[in-house]
């Protein structure tokens, strides 16, 4: 029904980034009030590595998600899709 700006593969990789980052959101908040929990730190560090790898893979393939990345010409940060333009109904 909607114009889909991204391929299935791109959406799948983006979803993996979202999942890895959500683990980091959770470990971050938990560690803020439990800074000496070594199990949580291990989980955080594992997903930190995974998130960084997925992010650089995505940005190299489809354009920047953060302005801090490196871009070819033209500036890929402005590429579609913007967050509110993605349809997660079809994955």
């Amino acid at each position: 029904m909607d114009k889909d700006f991204i391929s299935k593969e791109q959406k799948k990789l983006l979803k993996e980034i979202m999942e890895a980052n959500f683990v980091l959101v959770e470990t971050n908040l938990y560690l803020d009030s439990h800074p000496t929990d070594e199990g949580a730190l291990r989980l955080h560090n594992t997903y930190s590595q995974r998130y960084k790898e997925l992010l650089s893979l995505y940005e190299a393939k489809y354009g920047l998600l953060r302005y801090t990345g490196m871009s070819g010409c033209p500036w890929s940060y402005i590429n579609e899709p913007w967050p509110w333009e993605i349809n997660f109904d079809v994955i």
């Binding site: 979202m18 908040l29 009030s33 998600l65 953060r66 967050p83 509110w84």
Partner: protein
Amino acid sequence: MWIYEKRLQYPVRVDTTNPTLAAMIIEQFGGADGELSAGIRYLTQRWTMPTNQAKAVLTDIGTEELAHWEIIGTLAWKLVKDATVDQIKGTPFEAHYVNHGKSPFPHNAAGAPWMATYLNSKGDPIADLHEDMAAEEKARATYEWLINISDDPGVTDTLRFLRQREINHFQRFGEALRIVQEEQDRKKYY
């Protein structure tokens, strides 16, 4: 400092055009217990927090609330973007439409614009953290009322995720409060 990441925190799905539901969802965009109030409340209270744990909890939950605000705006947008004028006429979204078109705007479901009086920053960490815990419970209750009226399975799925985050944040604020209280009690005795 903030760094924007060009994606939503949760994979939002909206199944059908529904201007009435959009008008109700707006409660969490610009209402008293909505995501904007939450984000501004926590980020504003940081300066007078006495412990590193509490400073971090306010910073990171405040930041997450802005991501939730973006999710709510996206839900409202997706619910109306394909709506015809005929589909909007006669719905509660009509009053929103004549002022803002299809753009989200920070007001509540009844149309009252967002106000800073929805929150406070007392400069007192015990008072502030209690406010924050209450705010999370009020937001949880709002999500439950919204889930009760939602007839869109995609929207309901996202609302359930956001409701769950309020429960998690309540827990973290409770821990921050305990840490601050222990710190204050320790100071009395030495």
